[in-house]
Symmetry: none
Subunit: 199 residues, 2 copies
């Protein structure tokens, strides 16, 4: 997990101290154990290790460090969900174990991606260049965003509505008109599970 030499020293010290004593060391004890003279240095190490998810600690509590069992392989695809933005709080130190990954969106379904061209879903905040993540399915529920084929020729991204024997494919762009077609002429190729954008 990208650990430096010194960080390993710290981690090793913590592990063996805790092993030996049954409780975790104070910062002062860590400092002398490592041969450093400043508690600030120790604190920085501990904070870094915590950010890497290798240990846990309670804020401002004595001897509250807890070395976590060496995490097995974390995939590149799983990343920590640190909190919410624009909530008015610094981002770091929000110790949550939460993570997010593509598989949270995909489940185990058969999914493919499409790069979006055009602005037909602009009001849904899906814009040109985005990737839509699409589950391959032949049916859709009212109001879902689908990839639909009309008359076997045009694949488009629209919201799906059933109106009697007709299908309405509704763009999310006030400047564009909905498509009406008989149910027989519309093939659903999949429904949108998510959106991915890359800057």
């Amino acid at each position: 997990m990208a650990i430096t030499r010194r960080q390993k020293d710290v981690l090793d010290f913590l592990t063996s101290f805790t092993q030996r004593c049954g409780y975790s060391p104070s910062y002062e004890e860590i400092a002398s154990g490592l041969g450093v003279n400043s508690l600030a240095t120790v604190h920085k190490h501990i904070t870094n290790l915590q950010n890497k998810g290798l240990l846990q600690r309670a804020h401002n509590r004595s001897r509250s460090i807890d070395v976590l069992p060496a995490r097995s392989k974390k995939g590149t695809d799983r990343l920590p969900l640190l909190g919410r933005i624009a909530a008015g709080r610094p981002v770091e130190a929000v110790e949550t174990a939460e993570t997010i990954s593509l598989s949270d969106i995909l489940g185990n379904r058969e999914v493919f991606a499409l790069e979006v061209r055009g602005d037909s879903m602009r009001d849904e905040h899906i814009v040109s260049g985005d990737y839509v993540l699409v589950e391959r399915t032949r049916t859709a529920r009212e109001g879902e965003i689908v990839v639909a084929l009309v008359d076997g020729t045009d694949a488009t991204l629209k919201r799906f509505y059933r109106e009697g024997s007709m299908i309405r494919l509704q763009p999310s762009n006030s400047e564009m008109a909905p498509i009406f077609a008989p149910a027989a002429a519309v093939t659903i190729q999949g429904k949108v599970l998510g959106v991915l954008r890359k800057y």
Copy 2:
């Protein structure tokens, strides 16, 4: 995607060093381990191996090389990119070998996710409920979308502009005013690499 003799040397060295020490070698250590005299050479090797997907590393981070277990290939996180939508062609059978995954966006950087609240980036089509994928960094370039802390209290998502000694943090919402602050009062916590949305 073949591997060259020299590249295998590098990979083997990395594996055994990491095995031996519990942390990955610095470029200097790699250089002497391989008997080359230039860090640039090492850097190029590492970059090439990374491009081949045989290892990963974080940008500008010490000892962050991580040799990947030879191709486990789960498949959940990598999905086929079938083509473009709204281009007027049925989706299926396009069979480009292209794929997309989170790691295409993330590279191998240190990344975390934040759930977005509020509409300050609405005109960029980042809306409440979306997840922004953020690289932890302290600097930003002109015009990038950043997570910034103003006066150490408020974390917000804005576009970053430098104006003399001042920083302008520009929301993408015509109803909201930009924030001007002296450079010293603004801390960049990261910059946005991508967006993920889940329906």
